[in-house]
Assembly symmetry: C2
Homo-oligomer: 271 residues x 2
């Protein structure tokens, strides 16, 4: 007999384990729980059963299949996860806001909250398949070029640092000295461009050049459409929450560093 899953991760593993060869109603329970794991902490068996379209007793039986003594036993795991997830974040945020509308603390609360929201949205909205494709396209490149100006520049700069640290050839197109760096992009290379609306002309022009030459481009941007469409262009949209006229770019940085590390891992696996 397998021991009962002690963490949310274990739970999903177990769910996957038992998912085959399950009778109809039990399968409904499994599917519903897989898609609505977060509801378990706060719902009653009856609510959950209704959601899954089964009788409460069926849900009870499923809990036992999963290895728990009953529903309450299972719920404990998820309640623990919730309460450790936000130890006292919510109260701290309101405490910071309470220091006054214009105080730096209140501002920090806004940015932290916006950043957290953006990260969650990123996790919820990201197209895993597109991400895989982007990594594959970049992993095939000799050298990776990095474009991003004005507020997108820090993202490119960070990518440059990451690639350097992994020993991967990369070039930051920073426009220093107004040199024409575009000419250094060769067949077999790839471009990661970061740009937000309103798109900067230089970055759009650089992407267009690459598209014309059929060089792979991965675009990090804030609109699903992106600045340029084309056969060799892969757009990864990131919804970033604003605070006034500014945004913290937490989600964009996250996606960027993920790309870099994933490409590095793919390369080292290939060699």
């Amino acid at each position: 007999m397998t021991a009962k899953p002690q963490s949310v991760e274990d739970f999903h593993a177990r769910l996957h384990e038992v998912s085959e060869g399950l009778p109809k109603r039990m399968r409904q329970c499994a599917d519903y729980l897989a898609a609505n794991t977060d509801r378990v902490a706060l719902s009653t068996v009856a609510e959950l059963a209704t959601g899954a379209g089964v009788a409460p007793s069926a849900m009870m039986r499923f809990c036992q299949i999963m290895g728990y003594s009953g529903y309450s036993d299972m719920q404990q795991i998820f309640r623990a996860a919730v309460s450790s997830g936000l130890p006292d974040y919510a109260s701290r945020i309101s405490a910071l806001r309470d220091r006054g509308a214009d105080s730096p603390s209140a501002l920090l609360a806004e940015f932290v909250d916006a950043g957290r929201g953006s990260l969650e949205t990123l996790a919820n909205k990201v197209d895993a398949a597109a991400l895989d494709q982007a990594v594959a396209a970049l992993a095939g490149a000799e050298m990776i070029h990095l474009a991003g100006l004005r507020r997108a520049f820090p993202v490119s700069a960070y990518l440059a640092y990451a690639f350097e640290k992994m020993g991967h050839p990369a070039m930051l197109h920073d426009g220093v000295g107004a040199l024409q760096q575009a000419a250094s992009i060769r067949i077999g290379d790839a471009l990661i461009a970061t740009t937000f609306t309103p798109y900067s002309d230089e970055t759009v022009a650089l992407i267009q050049t690459c598209v014309d030459r059929d060089i792979p481009v991965v675009v990090l941007t804030d609109s699903p459409l992106g600045p340029v469409q084309g056969a060799s262009v892969l757009t990864l949209p990131v919804a970033e929450a604003d605070v006034g006229a500014f945004r913290a770019l937490s989600a964009t940085h996250c996606l960027a560093i993920t790309l870099a590390v994933a490409v590095g891992a793919a390369k080292s696996r290939a060699s």
Copy 2:
């Protein structure tokens, strides 16, 4: 009769409203709830009452003082806040991880989770008073100098963008062309230095120069002690979670942009 608070914010407002002229036991309830708001969603009256050191019936009465019909009625508000706070973040994260240990999606889940954790830690650990001091010190400066190399460079670059956008004089010490930019720091200016262990020599040297000349320095760093101590140095520590050898710097960026916007707001209020 005041209507019952419909949100966690309303709740705190109401708590403050009634906080004076309360009998002893009711005051205990108020104090405990103010400090442990996050527990309400998952606890029973009995648990809460024990925590506050009162009888369950006292806690019930307090719920009614707050305007609710009873404990369950009050709890609803907090449960709603929890479930909207994590729509299905937790399940998405595990779904992303499920795509395979080495997949880009799993990596993204790691970085998003790390970023979120860092932001929460920032909100919980930040010293609001130190933040106020830092803003005050910077708001008095003619020009703000920005130092940060290697992985700290993106943070400085972003600060440079923010100050430029607000029309505030700022100079990014980027080391391009190995020019000695240190000489441009004048009495009446201030420095924001970002550096992580192991600290880069150039940045430490620049901070030291400023300390020697009694020029205000705000340091964003990952250790509470910071690279340099001194009368004119104010260290703002940021605990940033690592993913392997990399970190996403979400919290540092958040703190940086907060500093910049708060300084901008302070300046425009003064003029």
